[in-house]
Symmetry: C2
Subunit: 429 residues, 2 copies
């Protein structure tokens, strides 16, 4: 932090935060233990109120926003790279890293300076807001390595095999306006304006090198919930989440150097037919989900935390947990032990017009709302892809949900102070 | 509250809230003082954390959500009435009132009951959430009184003159998908899911009588801000708001009986060209707004709370506060003293595709974000309409903002327990 900056009341978003920000910067130097802290169950919220003045570490072995206890709000953005120059891409990542570290510390994207006759380097709409535990998580899509068979940045040979092209799953209705991207930023914070502000500053710093492709706003189900939050279907979501990050989330020695300590993000925009779902009787909803609605207990069980009972049968010999129940089909026990760290947010994007093609030919609006699934994993080829191959064919929930967008992104390991995110990819390649 | 309901753990959204909910119901009986409490400046947030377990009174002289200290999140919905039957409309308002009172008290829309073989009367996604100061504010659009010259409910003669058709203002680009409606619900809460949940329950209860026409999600600028929050333009918003509600906000003896204690809501979806705005130098932004960006002080002043100086000139004789500055043109001093209670929320609805029609023929995405202005007033004919007639012609800010939707709604006075919202309209008519 420069001397000039420390003197300016504008250097941090709030004067009294300056001390905190400095502390975080010090703690976060190099590969500190900061980001290796036990994350606890990522699905448990702390309540915006008590946490809103806290910062999350930016520098470290892992990027923030993965093991970080889930914040209440998210803003996801995917970008297309428009530059053909490798040095511009590298400069962009360097700029983004520096700005992201400042933003996460509750500062403006760059020092504001005193000259009012030039455009401000930061739009200023987070100036009176606290850091709100902002995390910024960067990802590399397939197009960063090669696009339309062009190796724009001499990186094609370094595309990790785990950054596999996702197959077209049965039922997929992905639309281009919500799908793909060469670069991604996941901003999460305990305040929606802090998250949106951060991405806008980064997008502006990238002007001329990228175009923004799609975005998705999300909110967590119940920042003030006791225990597991409920998603828009009214069921508890995220009951089972891995705790062994080294095994399930972080890329290890099997991956390239720059991906070690990183993770693969599968994002899926999943629209839910809420109007339809809500007219189903509760017992049927429970058969679809495989859990009791109000307690969250697996069918046949009493408590939310109980393991699923795959073998129990009723008096007629039918499984208590139906063969096509969502909880059964997605359980590690029937997926070779695979687990995905889910950081899902609900979304609520207004209405879609719909017209029936059958009598009584009704037309009208339906909610454009659902779940923005963000799942982190060590290797999608042994996690999301096989799990979703199964779910997309068999899950009873498919009557009510449609995957309408998303992407797959390689999120590099974290950066030590002085490095930039993804630096080791460029050093090697 | 029935005995059965009190025994059920599902009667309130959280067991331990039952006491609170009961207390509020008791306090709110009849025309209590509850809703007449001093509202304080509506623009000051309390922070989600400390308030999230609080309830706002539902019953009272005024509807909630107007004088109520502004919550952090909003979900606004406008509906078209599809029924032609007056008794169905009356039944709808009776049902909505009862459900809204329960929801505001942190309960499900109706008691859930124990029968799981029928659809639940409440979707359940707010079950583990606190009341979050939910308010539900109902409004009547022109179409409730007459539509396409049809007097569907024998109410046409009772349309208040103050529910005037808004003129087409210069620059208006209102699109049908975000404009109008026969009925409106403004849900505000300190949790986005609580607000969305509440409207969805009400919409479902209205099935067959209405179609949902448009919705708008909003978030407040800075629940944790000290003082006035900043909107997406980076300036403090809402510095001046009326404190004399009887004079500026509540309809008095001049209005029909059912509107006394009510107010007129003008909603406007105002898109902001954020990318453009952010490239302007700060001094120019300040000329447009008429205030200093960082302090919020009026131009020529030192402190946010100072009055505007309309007469000060610089050494060249030019006004320090430009003639076309937003703050000047909207000030009560130049609008015959008119004031509007602003409860504005920011919105962030993803991206719009745009293509230039001139060299260099660029195309790409821009933010679909801006301000969802909700302004309450005693009479729009002496408040929003003349103020905006002036702003829409002269405001320097018009280079950066576009009104793309909205509506005008008569929000009746509040209901005493046992009444329904708008009841006196039906008794008289």
């Amino acid at each position: 932090m420069s001397e000039k900056e420390e003197r300016s009341p504008l250097a941090s978003r709030r004067g009294f935060l300056a001390g905190t920000a400095g502390l975080v910067a010090a703690v976060g130097s190099g590969f500190s233990a900061a980001a290796a802290q036990p994350a606890g169950p990522a699905n448990v919220m702390g309540g915006g109120g008590q946490d809103i003045h806290h910062t999350e570490p930016f520098w470290g072995k892992h990027q923030g926003g993965i093991a970080t206890r889930q914040q209440t709000n998210s803003y996801f953005a995917a970008f297309d790279l428009t530059t053909d120059k490798r040095d511009e891409l590298e400069a962009l990542l360097r700029t983004w890293t520096a700005a992201a570290a400042r933003l996460a510390a509750g500062q403006t994207a760059a020092p504001l300076g005193d000259d009012l006759t030039v455009p401000a380097v930061d739009s200023g709409d987070a100036l009176s807001l606290p850091p709100a535990r902002l995390t910024l998580t960067f990802g590399f899509g397939p197009g960063l390595f090669a696009k339309d068979e062009r190796d724009r940045y001499q990186l094609a040979a370094h595309r990790p095999e785990a950054l596999a092209d996702l197959p077209k799953f049965p039922g997929d209705q992905l639309v281009a306006e919500h799908t793909g991207g060469d670069l991604s930023i996941q901003a999460c914070a305990d305040d929606p304006q802090v998250a949106f502000h951060a991405v806008r500053q980064l997008a502006r710093l990238a002007y001329g090198a990228v175009q923004i492709r799609w975005t998705q706003t999300g909110f967590a189900a119940g920042p003030a919930s006791k225990g597991t939050g409920r998603n828009l279907m009214g069921f508890k979501d995220g009951t089972i989440n891995p705790t062994d990050f080294d095994r399930f989330v972080w890329v290890g020695g099997e991956g390239p150097d720059w991906m070690r300590g990183g993770s693969y993000l599968v994002a899926r925009r999943i629209r839910i037919a809420l109007e339809h779902w809500e007219t189903m009787n509760v017992a049927f909803q429970e058969q679809v989900v495989g859990r009791r609605k109000y307690s969250g207990a697996p069918l046949g069980g009493m408590h939310e935390s109980e393991p699923l009972n795959f073998d129990a049968t009723d008096k007629d010999g039918n499984p208590v947990l139906p063969e096509n129940a969502h909880a059964r089909l997605s359980a590690p026990e029937v997926n070779d032990g695979a687990q995905i760290l889910r950081r899902a947010y609900s979304y609520n994007d207004g209405l879609n017009f719909t017209a029936e093609r059958w009598p009584p030919w009704r037309q009208g609006n339906e909610y454009d709302a659902g779940l923005f699934f963000m799942g982190y994993q060590r290797d999608p080829r042994t996690a999301f892809i096989p799990i979703h191959e199964k779910l997309s064919r068999l899950d009873a929930m498919n009557q009510f949900i449609t995957h309408v967008g998303g992407g797959l992104f390689a999120c590099p390991g974290g950066a030590a102070k002085g490095e930039f995110i993804g630096q080791r990819l460029f050093e090697r390649a």
